[in-house]
């Protein structure tokens, strides 16, 4: 992504140099050529030239439209994580980054990734708004309490890349630093194996699912008090009020913390809130578990 952003950036610099120097040249040229001198005390008033006005309205319009489509095409790719990206859960708080890999490894202020593979971040904050900014990858996304935002990047070279918080978040804003450590895929596999808990994010979510008693109502075979969660993720759910919702990360998060907000058609609003009983990281683990149920189903179907 960085080369594409830079290409437009440097095109904009060239464009700015052209127009900036053109204006500067004209100003200096006119200011010298038409300087006031004895016998030339008044300028010659020329009214507008419609042709000229149309010309210098149309040219900037054309240029800005090119810039718009160019910038938009980059943005569309910036906001669309490729399929098969590694799913990393990110929780920001004053003043640290907490990250969890799908395999279960947890990190603080460090993110180990393999080169050559896209990494998708699903992010939320425990307190104020932060922003996850990796300058070398030209990527940045605000990390907002109460909702998920996503971003993705792909490291192409091994090395360390600073993470800086770019949304002012209080006293130690400038100290909220981290680094992405990009490794060869082999080194990454080794890193995943070393010091691992042996419990993946989905497994941790499953443990939490049992401990919180979710399974009492959300049975996989269905027919109980709560809807079955098997194969739920990514599907469109019909709601009691006739509307529908896509069961994405934000939907699941809301259903855990504010279960009355969206009631699935055919069910009673009996689920209690789990606000205060489960942490942001716990919710992300539950989501990983519910996602894994869909993957199991897909694998089974094959």
């Amino acid at each position: 992504m960085a080369p594409r952003v830079d290409a437009l950036f440097f095109f904009l610099i060239a464009l700015s140099l052209f127009f900036g120097l053109l204006i500067a040249f004209l100003i200096v040229y006119f200011a010298v050529k038409y300087r006031r001198r004895p016998g030339y005390e008044r300028g010659v008033s020329i009214d507008a030239s419609i042709a000229l006005e149309i010309f210098w309205t149309a040219v900037p319009f054309g240029i800005t439209m090119v810039l718009f489509f160019w910038g938009a095409s980059i943005f569309l790719d910036q906001t669309q994580p490729p399929v098969g990206a590694i799913d990393i859960a990110v929780v920001g708080r004053q003043w640290m980054w907490k990250l969890q890999h799908p395999e279960g490894q947890r990190e603080i202020d460090e993110l180990h990734v393999p080169v050559g593979r896209p990494v998708k971040l699903t992010m939320t904050s425990e307190d104020v708004i932060h922003s996850f900014f990796v300058p070398e990858f030209r990527m940045k996304m605000d990390v907002v309490p109460g909702r998920y935002t996503t971003a993705w990047f792909e490291a192409t070279k091994e090395g360390e890349y600073p993470i800086r918080c770019s949304q002012y978040c209080g006293a130690q804003h400038s100290g909220m630093l981290g680094r992405v450590i990009a490794m060869t895929p082999a080194d990454y596999q080794q890193w995943l194996g070393g010091g691992a808990t042996g419990v993946s994010a989905a497994q941790a979510g499953q443990n939490l699912f049992q401990r919180l008693g979710c399974a009492t109502c959300h049975k996989s075979e269905g027919g109980s008090q709560g809807p079955s969660l098997a194969g739920l993720f990514g599907k469109t759910v019909k709601l009691q009020d006739g509307k529908s919702a896509v069961a994405d990360e934000g939907y699941i998060r809301e259903s855990i913390l504010d279960p009355q907000a969206k009631i699935v058609a055919g069910f009673q609003p009996v689920m209690p809130t789990f606000k205060g009983l489960v942490s942001e990281e716990g919710i992300l683990q539950l989501i990983a578990y519910i996602k894994s149920l869909s993957q199991q189903e897909r694998t089974a179907a094959k």
């Binding site: 952003v5 437009l8 950036f9 904009l12 700015s16 127009f19 500067a24 004209l26 100003i27 006119f30 200011a31 038409y34 300087r35 005390e41 008044r42 300028g43 010659v44 008033s45 020329i46 009214d47 507008a48 000229l52 006005e53 210098w56 309205t57 900037p60 800005t64 439209m65 718009f68 160019w70 910038g71 938009a72 980059i74 943005f75 569309l76 906001t79 004053q94 307190d127 104020v128 708004i129 922003s131 030209r138 940045k140 605000d142 309490p145 909702r147 935002t149 600073p162 800086r164 918080c165 770019s166 949304q167 002012y168 978040c169 209080g170 006293a171 804003h173 400038s174 100290g175 606000k275």
Partner: protein
């Protein structure tokens, strides 16, 4: 005819009461001039502390908490108490009635009330500074401002809330005056472009300011009464605050720069001594900016988690708002063509304005290009960009305007050579301060950083060095303008040979501005005619 009149608005009455209870728009302009000058140096003091801290990467001058208060006080003071009132309330107050040939604004007492409201708001802000300051940044983002900050947020937002009423009342006063009090023969298309710009600004004052007032009130209520408008834990939405805040605060950028564009049109024509090129295009581009400016707020939220579609639409609209600005720059440049150009200090500011505003505008294209904005958003690139617009643009035009109309306001001329040197110092100091910040932003230095990685030090030292030069450029006019009040040469009514209506009355003007009501018989900037062919002072004044 060219000597100072015996009795004018400055000596008609003496004593502090004659100033504090005045309803003369020209005296109220002076009240604003003194107060915004104080706020400018107050805000500049914090800017100095910011640049001192950033000379070293470690953050070793003050604590982080203190530094965060510095940049907040700098932003709040400069935006709400200097930039927004500067040109409208000082030059607008002084000039709008004279440019339309009226004896005062439509509501003189309301005008004085606006100043008192402004001062009341300012006192709240000074009180919050004295009590220990506020650390949210001038943008007051929730939930930091509403829940987490331990500083004097409520006091500060009340100050900004109160000051907003001053803007609204001033805007109303200008709109009514421009509609109802124009001299006979002064049609809309004979108005000076400064009036068009002030008119467009007043529309934003009236339509935009209530929104920021309500928004900041909600933040204050959330803090004081523990309500949850913006608190996600209680069903609120922190991003809602950003929508409401920028719905005003982006148009507020045009509140700062539209009047500057108006000043620019006056200066360029007066010192090129010719009619402005493309009058109606310059006039309507002001209105276009005021209207489209209300539709681009989302570009402050490209990475805030708004939907991809919203981002794309706001990107497109942000590009569109650049076009009227480009039209203005081209027309000013064309106005120089075949002019008779002199290099007096106001013109140096005016030419500097075109250069700096052009850089500010072009770098705005980087930020509207949504794919590039993702990288430079909330970095020093943005800081550099908006300082080029708001300082390189608005403050340059403000200083140019103050110099240009100083002989009218005081009856005295300022010392020209030192004023030219000061204008050059401001231009050079400004560029040295802010150009390196574009590079810092591209390299990845976020804004509001107390400490920073050591590889950014060289550029930060350049910026701080530039700021010290800039400070000299700002202090010089303060000294020689005060000096000129006593020692400046007597100016006469029209020292620049300008064609505006305000130059056809003595300097300083009488309290009622014109002895006889002028009749306007030609278009503005008729430099190919004598002033007598544009204005007729035949009929006796109705005053």
């Amino acid at each position: 005819m060219n000597g100072a009149p015996q009795v004018h608005y400055l000596n008609v009455d003496y004593g502090i009461r004659s100033w504090l209870f005045t309803t003369d728009h020209k005296r109220i302009a002076w009240l604003y001039l003194l107060s915004v000058t104080l706020f400018f140096f107050f805000g500049g003091f914090f800017a100095t502390l910011i640049r001192l801290e950033l000379m070293t990467p470690q953050g070793d001058l003050v604590q982080a908490e203190t530094y965060n208060k510095f940049f907040t006080m700098h932003g709040v003071t400069m935006v709400f108490f200097f930039l927004i009132p500067s040109i409208p309330a000082v030059l607008g107050n002084f000039l709008v009635p004279m440019m339309v040939g009226a004896r005062d604004l439509a509501f003189p007492r309301l005008n004085l009330a606006s100043w008192y409201i402004f001062i009341l708001g300012g006192l709240f802000t000074l009180a919050s500074a004295a009590a220990g300051g506020v650390d949210t940044g001038w943008t007051f983002y929730t939930p930091y401002s509403s829940i987490y900050s331990n500083s004097h947020v409520a006091l500060t937002v009340v100050g900004v809330f109160v000051t907003g009423f001053s803007s609204i009342l001033t805007g109303l006063n200008f709109v009514v005056t421009i509609h109802k009090m124009r001299a006979p023969g002064l049609t809309w298309f004979r108005l000076p472009l400064f009036i068009w710009a002030i008119y467009a600004t007043s529309i934003i004052f009236i339509l935009g300011t209530p929104v920021i007032a309500i928004t900041l009130l909600l933040v204050g209520l959330e803090r004081v009464f523990n309500l949850g408008f913006f608190d996600p834990a209680r069903g609120g939405d922190p991003v809602l605050f950003q929508h409401l805040f920028w719905f005003y605060s982006h148009p507020a950028v045009y509140i700062m720069v539209l009047p500057a564009m108006g000043v620019e049109s006056e200066l360029v024509t007066a010192f090129a001594r010719r009619r402005v090129f493309g009058y109606s295009f310059v006039a309507f581009s002001s209105l276009a900016i005021a209207v489209i400016g209300f539709l681009v707020w989302g570009h402050h939220m490209f990475v805030a988690g708004q939907s991809v579609h919203a981002g794309l639409i706001f990107s497109l609209l942000s590009f569109l708002v650049a076009i009227p600005s480009a039209i203005k720059v081209f027309n000013w440049t064309a106005t120089l063509h075949r002019g008779s150009i002199s290099y007096d200090a106001p013109m140096l500011y005016a030419l500097g304005f075109i250069g700096l505003f052009t850089i500010g505008g072009l770098t705005g294209l980087f930020l509207a290009s949504i794919g590039v904005d993702v990288h430079v958003h909330d970095t020093y690139f943005v800081i550099a960009h908006f300082h080029y617009i708001m300082v390189g643009g608005s403050v340059m035009a403000y200083l140019g305007g103050i110099h240009f109309w100083w002989p009218k306001m005081t009856g005295r001329t300022y010392p020209e050579p030192v004023a030219r040197v000061a204008a050059l110092i401001v231009f050079l100091g400004f560029n040295l301060t802010f150009f390196p910040q574009f590079v810092l932003g591209y390299l990845g230095m976020p804004r509001r950083y107390h400490a920073y990685p050591p590889e950014f030090q060289a550029l930060n030292v350049m910026s701080s060095a530039g700021a010290s030069i800039l400070a000299v450029g700002y202090v010089l006019p303060l000294i020689y303008l005060i000096w000129s009040l006593r020692y400046g040469r007597v100016a006469g009514r029209n020292p620049w040979g300008a064609r505006g209506l305000e130059w056809q009355t003595p300097s300083p003007p009488p309290t009622h501005n014109f002895d006889v009501t002028p009749r306007v018989v030609a278009e503005a900037y008729a430099y190919d005619k004598e002033p007598e062919e544009t204005y007729e002072f035949g009929s006796p004044s109705r005053a």
